[in-house]
């Protein structure tokens, strides 16, 4: 089965509001990365976490390997935050690999 379950698959927010994306893991992961797909289709690094929390501007991420989840919080959403967000966790499957979630399509509305 899927090792990384990302939710929600789609999310709509009004400008200025906030919400959270979540990834649950079926096994212990070494670290997690969060990405956003930009308008050109490139995956842009948002965070790398081996534990704890990190914050960057209006984004904050947390990773709890013991409880097997990671979250990405967006506050004061802006129109330019729209896009697809992916979490990816480091799992051992013969070698250490990034296992991606299926993505969250975020739409920020005026």
């Amino acid at each position: 089965g899927d090792q990384v379950e990302q939710s929600p698959s789609a999310l709509s927010l009004h400008e200025g509001t906030g919400s959270a994306l979540r990834c649950n893991f079926t096994t212990t992961m070494r670290a997690v990365q969060w990405f956003r797909k930009n308008s050109r289709g490139s995956l842009i690094n948002l965070f790398y976490l081996a534990s704890g929390t990190k914050e960057n501007g209006r984004l904050k991420s947390a990773f709890d390997s013991k409880e097997r989840y990671s979250t990405l919080h967006i506050r004061d959403a802006q129109l330019e935050d729209s896009g697809t967000y992916f979490c990816a966790a480091e799992a051992f499957s013969g070698s250490w690999q990034l296992i991606f979630g299926s993505g969250t399509q975020l739409t920020v509305m005026p």
Binding site: N45, F86, A88, S95, S102, G103
Partner: protein, 114 residues
């Protein structure tokens, strides 16, 4: 610092044709990854290298796909006889193998097999 570059950006093929994708990683990054991303899914690892050595190619369909990184820098991914099911975006990423293997992705090659 230049990011990961890939070419071509787009490719359209008929079934049975061959295609090669090229990747230039970030300078100094010893690890290079190739991913396949079908539409509306997350990327899935195909193969990765540390320097010129293949570390894991267990998810690379070896009958039609091949990947090389002969000098431990640039890499080429080749599909020998494309099938419609190969339609996807092919992403290259690179990282430096210290304790924090943060991967940096290129823009990808969007492949359509008709």
């Amino acid at each position: 610092e230049a990011g990961v570059t890939q070419s071509p950006r787009y490719a359209v093929l008929q079934e049975g044709q061959a295609v090669s994708f090229w990747c230039d990683p970030i300078s100094g990054h010893d690890t290079l990854y190739w991913y396949q991303q079908p539409r509306d899914q997350g990327p899935q690892l195909l193969v990765y290298f540390r320097d010129e050595a293949v570390i894991d190619n267990s998810q690379l369909p070896s009958d039609r796909f091949s990947a090389v990184r002969p000098k431990g820098t640039n890499s080429t991914l080749k599909i020998q006889s494309a099938k419609q099911g190969d339609t996807a975006t092919y992403l290259c990423a690179s990282s430096f193998s210290n304790n924090q293997d943060t991967q940096y992705f290129g823009p990808g090659t969007r492949l359509l097999v008709l």
